[in-house]
């Protein structure tokens, strides 16, 4: 009787959120895969019957080029984020408790402000009449006719700006738990500073590094607002193409097809990390069994 009641309570508490997410998350995601094989109807809806038109349209080399650009822009942004987040996360973890809380606040607070507004701020800075351009031209570093905006570099810069705090936080969290005496030990045993950093510190915060890479790389793959506002027509990513199919030529099935490409691009690094972690766990378990 008690167990039955407990079971009833569990179902009652689970039911609302479960049903909601099934209805508004699972079903819509599954629907993307199904509707990609429907024809588009001229009024921006979804037609009847089945077709492979979307698959054929995806074979267009322009989509391959855009998928490729999305991949390498996200990759470059992730690498830059990691290069900046590593020393920052390390410095925050090594600061005194009071300074640490202040630094964390300073890192997080700007990112409570609207995302659109931050992207817009960069648009006005990089603008041909904007501040950075004037300074660079004044120093003779940039030609007066060169454009900083509508450039792949601008997309990468703003992507780094947007996702950097999300890379710093997991690295800080891992570094905070790291026993820094290990570095001292390595130095005492003759390791050079960089060597002790690379061979002791980095492996020690591996979990934080993996999380940091994923929280930058995955949203970067799906970014749409950044290339739309600072990238211009020559620097479109998959997200822009999806939006164009929806808002410009109202072809929902093709937008669905492009979304499937994006889903696969997101799943690949995730599954790779899961597989590597499972392998590592098995290796540890295996090493444990070998002991007498």
């Amino acid at each position: 009787m008690m167990r039955l009641r407990r079971r009833g309570q569990e179902v009652l508490l689970t039911f609302p959120s479960f049903l909601w997410l099934a209805l508004f998350f699972l079903v819509p995601t599954a629907l993307v895969f199904v509707l990609a094989f429907r024809p588009a109807d001229p009024f921006g809806g979804i037609g009847r019957g089945w077709t492979l038109a979307t698959l054929r349209a995806l074979a267009d080399p322009q989509y391959l080029a855009i998928a490729w650009r999305t991949l390498w822009v996200s990759l470059v942004a992730t690498v830059i984020c990691m290069l900046l987040a590593l020393p920052t996360g390390y410095a925050v973890a090594r600061a005194s408790l009071r300074r640490r809380n202040l630094l964390l606040m300073l890192i997080i607070v700007p990112f409570w402000t609207s995302f659109l507004i931050r992207v817009f701020a960069w648009k006005s800075i990089l603008h041909p009449e904007g501040m950075i351009k004037r300074i660079l031209v004044w120093f003779g570093l940039v030609d007066a006719n060169a454009s900083l905006l509508y450039h792949t570099g601008a997309v990468i810069l703003v992507t780094v700006y947007t996702f950097l705090p999300f890379a710093i936080l997991p690295i800080y969290a891992a570094a905070e738990k790291f026993d820094f005496r290990l570095i001292e030990a390595a130095r005492d045993l003759g390791a050079r500073p960089f060597e002790s950093f690379r061979r002791v510190f980095l492996p020690g915060i591996r979990q934080g590094l993996v999380t940091a890479v994923l929280v930058v790389f995955i949203p970067a793959l799906g970014s749409y607002v950044i290339p739309d506002i600072v990238g211009g027509p020559g620097n479109e990513l998959l997200g822009n193409k999806i939006a164009q199919r929806v808002f410009v030529d109202r072809n929902l099935p093709l937008a669905g097809g492009l979304s499937i490409v994006l889903i696969l691009a997101v799943l690949t690094p995730l599954l790779a990390v899961l597989a590597l972690q499972r392998q590592a766990a098995r290796a540890v378990a295996g090493a444990g069994e070998e002991k007498p």
């Binding site: 569990e10 508490l13 689970t14 609302p16 959120s17 479960f18 909601w20 997410l21 508004f24 998350f25 699972l26 819509p28 629907l31 993307v32 509707l35 979804i46 900046l84 020393p87 920052t88 410095a91 925050v92 090594r94 964390l104 300073l106 890192i107 997080i108 607070v109 700007p110 409570w112 402000t113 609207s114 659109l116 507004i117 931050r118 817009f120 701020a121 006005s124 009449e129 904007g130 501040m131 004037r134 700006y161 950097l164 710093i168 130095r187 500073p193 949203p219 799906g222 749409y224 607002v225 506002i229 997200g239 939006a243 929806v246 929902l252 669905g256 979304s259 994006l262 889903i263 997101v266």
Partner: protein, 262 residues
């Protein structure tokens, strides 16, 4: 052993990188020039003009209305979900439930936007305020559930049992003991849901349809059509609002600021 100064210098550089664009944005909201580039003297005229833009205020009203409903519904759904995840953590149903709560956090916004749009179109639901609210609740539930779950995990449930032993019904124990103790967690979760709803652009843009406009959608079309200093003024007001909220919530809970933001 001498420590390298390099990480601390880098931290300084990163902080300048974070704040400089925001400072410039605020500075130029006081520029009397129509165009962003040259400084032509201090002026408050863009703030004054803001008050004569009914479209902005309509959008702000929609945004607020949506955010309040979304906060309420996602708090209810997220809290029941967290209670289930916590109390029955070992059951197979909850393992699946946890995956279902966790996955939306990983999915890029644009995928959630397009899949919801396709579902609404396929089901023949008219796009507008309703679809925006449904979409916002969907991405807020996960954040609320995880924040509340975090609070529940360092929560002493023997107190609830004590209340039951002393004769409280399970409803009374939930209302008079569990709820007040959970209140700070619920406040933090509610604040996150509210902020996410107010700030969301991508998903809203996909499911809004032509009729319903929220503040981010309004700001986006202003950016696209180039009403520059007006956006700076609006942004500055929003920044002041955000910083005040963060500051106030910091006073209430010392850890609140670390648990959210997009």
């Amino acid at each position: 052993m001498k420590r390298s100064r390099f990480p601390f210098v880098m931290t300084g550089v990163v902080l300048v990188f974070f704040y400089l664009p925001i400072l410039i944005l605020v500075l130029y909201s006081f520029n009397s020039s129509r165009f962003g580039g040259a400084w032509q003297g201090f002026s408050l005229k863009w703030y004054a003009r803001l008050f004569h833009e009914p479209a902005i205020w309509d959008a702000a009203r929609n945004t607020l209305f949506i955010a309040i409903l979304v906060t309420f519904f996602s708090l209810v759904l997220g809290t029941t979900s967290a209670l289930a995840l916590h109390r029955f953590s070992k059951s197979r149903l909850q393992r699946f439930h946890y995956t279902l709560i966790y996955t939306p956090l990983i999915v890029p916004d644009i995928l959630m936007g397009i899949s919801l749009l396709m579902a609404f179109v396929a089901a023949g639901v008219k796009l507008g305020m309703l679809t925006i609210i449904l979409a916002h609740v969907t991405f807020c539930v996960s954040y609320v559930a995880l924040v509340v779950l975090g609070r529940l995990q360092d929560f002493d449930f023997t107190i609830v049992e004590a209340a039951r032993d002393l004769g409280a019904s399970s409803w009374t124990a939930a209302r008079r003991v569990l709820l007040p103790m959970l209140a700070p967690g619920l406040a933090a979760a509610g604040l996150i849901a509210f902020t996410l709803s107010v700030d969301d652009f991508v998903i809203t843009f996909f499911v809004a349809g032509p009729g319903a406009t929220t503040l981010p959608i309004r700001v986006y079309s202003m950016i696209k059509h180039g009403a520059t200093p007006l956006i700076n003024a609006l942004s500055t007001l929003l920044l002041v609002l955000t910083f005040t909220t963060v500051f106030v919530s910091q006073r209430f809970s010392k850890t609140g600021a670390l648990e959210g933001g997009q």
